[in-house]
Amino acid sequence: MSKYKNLWELYKTPISFSIMSLVLLLVGFFQSWALVLGIFNLSLISAIMALGVNIQWGYAGIFNVGIMGFAALGGVSVILISQQPVTAAVEVGGIKMLIALLLGVTTIISGVILNKKGFNRWIIAMVVIVGYLITRHYFSEASNLIEKLNPELAGYLGGLGLPVVFSWFFGGLVAAAAAWSIGKITLGLRSDYLAIATLGISEIILYVIKNEDWLVRGVKNVTGLARPVPYEIQIQKMEWFINMVSWIYSSKLDILSKGDQLVQLNEYVRNTSVIFVKLCYSGFFITTLVAMVIMANLALNSPWGRKVRAIRDNEVAASAMGKNITSQHLQIFIIGSAIVGVAGAMLVTYFGLFNPSEYQPLRYTFLIWVMVIVGGSGNNLGSVIGAFVIWFIWIQSGPMGIWLVDIINNYYQDGNGVIDFLEERVFFLRLVFMGLILLIVMRFAPGGILPEKNKEL
């Protein structure tokens, strides 16, 4: 027994990744490859989000439960960058909106400056309120003009019409800017207050996105976003692709008659094109993830990483050594949130549509937390494996539940309402399952699957 344990201790990273790949391959053989690639791609994106959270929590002990908000900001930036501008709306209300936003920014900045100069609180409040009222006047005029314009199809300003991949960087920048302002306000707080504050702020971000239709159409959704990869239909017409498919399936095609061959080949081309597009996405996502993991690991093992962990483990001692804890926390908060923003932008690019009602804290905040804890907080590869494991369970527990219900159904064919009830509701048990996994890991393996390595150092 102890021999196996030693093996696991030595090679747990390759072992756990091999097991995960094996499971995915098995699903590929028994269910479908398109499904596996879907799980794989979303796991990759979740892994990037989990990496961002791990940098905040695992490196620095910052308890951020506002992940959903940063992911949504990343999503917004996809629209702002890649959509074509709605020229009519820009002509009608663009300048006015710009003035309104500038007024708003001026109000905030003057409030902050007056506060620093030590003016009377009432004067500052007056300035801010008057500024707010003026801003609101211009703002509602501008947003009305924009939203009234062709509300069924547009009703918003559109974006810059740049390639969608730029939006991933931009998503990181937007999230970083948001994190800077949020961090300035909340990072002085104790950990559970920080949690509550970030939870609330992420909700506010979502309210703004849902209600400011002039920005990203609110709950009317933006569909048909630009893609970094070709469309399935384009690929199906390409010569080399058809040749490749017929080469792959040549053994199966050869035994068919001429007429059947063409029909069958068309079907193969259709199916393969779906898989091919998903593979292209996987390529993009893997490159990003690998680059980020490498950078994160280099950072963690650098003097900077040691400083950060020293602060996490003993704030008082680190502060006595002359480390500026607040600015360090702010820095980490910004970096982690930026990574989450990048992942949020990638997610929206992958789905090809932006639907703000999709964003639920359970799915976009707490699930990512479960990934980090289960994977092993403080270990970047742990976050990656945690994301794969948890996302796999999250996706597959629905079908598994229905499969179980079917088995029960075959045993007791009494046709009462119980089976219908179970079939309808078994989906929700995955929340229970997630909670159980989190609690069990926290209690019996607090380090997670891949615990942090040099904790004793």
């Binding site: 104790r190 950990s191 509550i196 609330g200 702020i201 929340l431 229970v432 997630m434 209690r443």
Partner: protein
């Protein structure tokens, strides 16, 4: 009528659309906030599972209510939900106590950091939310029966002869009455009884309380019992007033936390004050004052716009703006709660 200044009608309008709804919403929040603050001061963590626990308690109430109505065991005029609250309270107590036994007790024993327990409470949140959605379904439902109004707008108008009527919903009346009774009971319990004093002593100084022979496990259990009662009643009253939906209860966590922090975490009085502050600012800031001002101002000054300070869609954001402002200006809350910096 409206060409002169009419203060009585203006305030009748305000009472009907602002004061009564805010009072009942505030009372519901206050009970939830009291539960969170009790858990915080005795068990020393912010309970993220509070909203879902309220959904759990309400779910039990809905089942018992259905059972009672089936059997015909109802009293006319009284919502059946009120009659079954004690049974639901027992159920919720059992649930919360077993969660404490299975989850939280371990972390108390190893003296874990409060943030670890918060994370465990997120696990409990997942489990509770999942169970509720599994058992009763994610859809919203209404379980109020009995009289809907104590007096309706028409009755009020006929009685007073005013142009603007006030309606008092049964759920509003019950909410405020029950909240007052319950809060009075909790304060009496904390101030006067031996167990309550032990709880306060334990909250003030754990080591000293242990030295003077207070049994910590008993204190914790009593806390969960009180929390279960508050949770069930808060959930039921909210459901009677606005209907039951698991997701909505889950989101109640946000205004409840805001109330607790605004009032000063760990301070029961602060939790109540914070709850009313949050509820009143939500309703006051999103109310359209056009009609109200028409009653009050001479005709030349009548407003054309709705005179709404903040759009209704930002209702939930308001509590957080208040929260952030309080955290910046007075981090200990209105009533000085526990300090915000780690000991």
């Amino acid at each position: 009528m409206s060409d002169s200044i009419d203060i009585i009608n203006a305030f009748a309008l305000l009472t009907n659309f602002v004061i009564l709804p805010a009072l009942s919403y505030g009372s519901q929040l206050a009970l939830g906030a009291l539960a969170v603050t009790l858990v915080y001061s005795i068990l020393r963590f912010s309970n993220f599972a509070q909203g879902d626990s309220m959904a759990f308690g309400t779910m039990l109430v809905i089942f018992f209510t259905g059972f009672m109505i089936d059997k015909g065991w109802t009293i006319s005029g009284v919502p059946t939900a009120l009659l079954v609250i004690p049974f639901a309270m027992i159920g919720t107590s059992i649930y919360l106590l077993s969660m404490d036994r299975l989850v939280y007790r371990f972390y108390r024993k190893v003296k874990a950091k409060s943030i670890t327990i918060v994370m465990a409470s997120i696990g409990v949140m997942f489990i509770t939310g999942g169970l509720v959605r599994f058992i009763i379904g994610p859809r919203s439902q209404n379980f109020a029966d009995g009289e809907r109004f104590i007096f309706s707008v028409r009755e009020f108008k006929a009685f007073t002869g005013l142009e603007q009527g006030i309606a008092l919903k049964t759920s509003q009346f019950l909410t405020v009455t029950i909240a007052i009774i319950l809060v009075a009971f909790v304060f009496y319990f904390l101030q006067k009884t031996k167990t309550g004093k032990a709880m306060r002593a334990y909250s003030d100084n754990k080591e000293l309380a242990l030295l003077s022979g207070i049994n910590p496990e008993k204190v914790v259990q009593v806390t969960w019992l009180v929390v279960a009662a508050l949770t069930t009643i808060a959930g039921t009253l909210y459901g009677l007033d606005k209907g039951f939906a698991p997701q909505q209860y889950h989101l109640l966590l946000l205004p409840i936390f805001a109330s607790v922090i605004v009032g000063g975490i760990g301070s029961p009085l602060g939790a109540i004050a914070g709850a009313f502050l949050v509820a009143f600012s939500e309703v006051l800031l999103t109310y359209a004052y056009k009609k109200f001002l028409i009653y009050l101002l001479p005709i030349s000054l009548h407003p054309n716009s709705l005179v709404q300070l903040i759009g209704t869609e930002y209702k939930y954001a308001i509590s957080f703006v208040i929260l952030v402002v309080v955290l910046l200006i007075r981090p200990t809350g209105i009533f000085k709660g526990k300090v915000l910096i780690d000991e």
